[in-house]
């Protein structure tokens, strides 16, 4: 039961991430930043949800909505292009914003 819900949550989170990343590529350097920040806040909020549904939402939906692998790959590509400023600012905004929003979500969680 719980594995099924985690699978569904993962599929939904990954699909939203893929769609946002594809749609935002044209006008934003990376859609990864946007989905990561939203997922951090959502995960913090979802810590207040108990039980199987809470696990599916935290591990599945918000876990799969965010990604370290794409962020690391994009920063690696910036470093390979020797664009150190963009790499550092992307990493800094991602981590600073993500941790801050996760903390805010934790504080606001029911």
């Amino acid at each position: 039961m719980i594995l099924s819900l985690v699978l569904i949550g993962g599929a939904v989170g990954a699909t939203i991430r893929g769609a946002v990343g594809h749609g935002m590529r044209a006008w934003l350097p990376t859609g990864t930043l946007a989905v990561n920040l939203v997922a951090c806040f959502g995960l913090g909020l979802a810590t207040g949800i108990d039980g199987t549904v809470g696990t599916a939402i935290r591990i599945g939906l918000f876990g799969a909505l965010s990604t370290w692998s794409s962020l690391a790959f994009e920063i690696g590509a910036m470093l390979r292009r020797r664009d150190l400023a963009l790499a550092c600012s992307t990493l800094g905004v991602s981590i600073g914003g993500g941790v801050g929003l996760a903390w805010l979500g934790l504080e606001l969680a029911p």
Binding site: G13, R17, G63, S69, S70, A72, A102
Partner: protein, 128 residues
Amino acid sequence: MRPTFLGLIALGGAFGTAIRWLALEAAGAGNDSVTVFALNVVGSAVVGFLAGSGFSGTARISQTIWPLAAIGFCGGLTTFSGFALQVADNLDRGHLASGAWLTIFTAAFAVSGAIGGYLLGSRSRMAT
């Protein structure tokens, strides 16, 4: 955007997420940080390897491999929000050093893994 593109991402994402959940369950309570760190580094290295191997291009096989394995599976296997929540929780409890080390190690190893994977993939592609 092709429907199959999103379908492949959903399929890969579901399995990557399931493996992350199973790994967290197997590692047991109290080992979440180490487990998430390891998954984030491995997933980043695999995405780098796939890109270096040429699967992020426009070739027909890439249109299946990249959304399924890179965007879907590795995206689901790794989690930025889980990492951020662990750091926020450490900071909230006053464990500043733990939060700082988790941040530094994850960022350094994930980015190094992605670059190393890319170089390894590029090298293996040139060798074939």
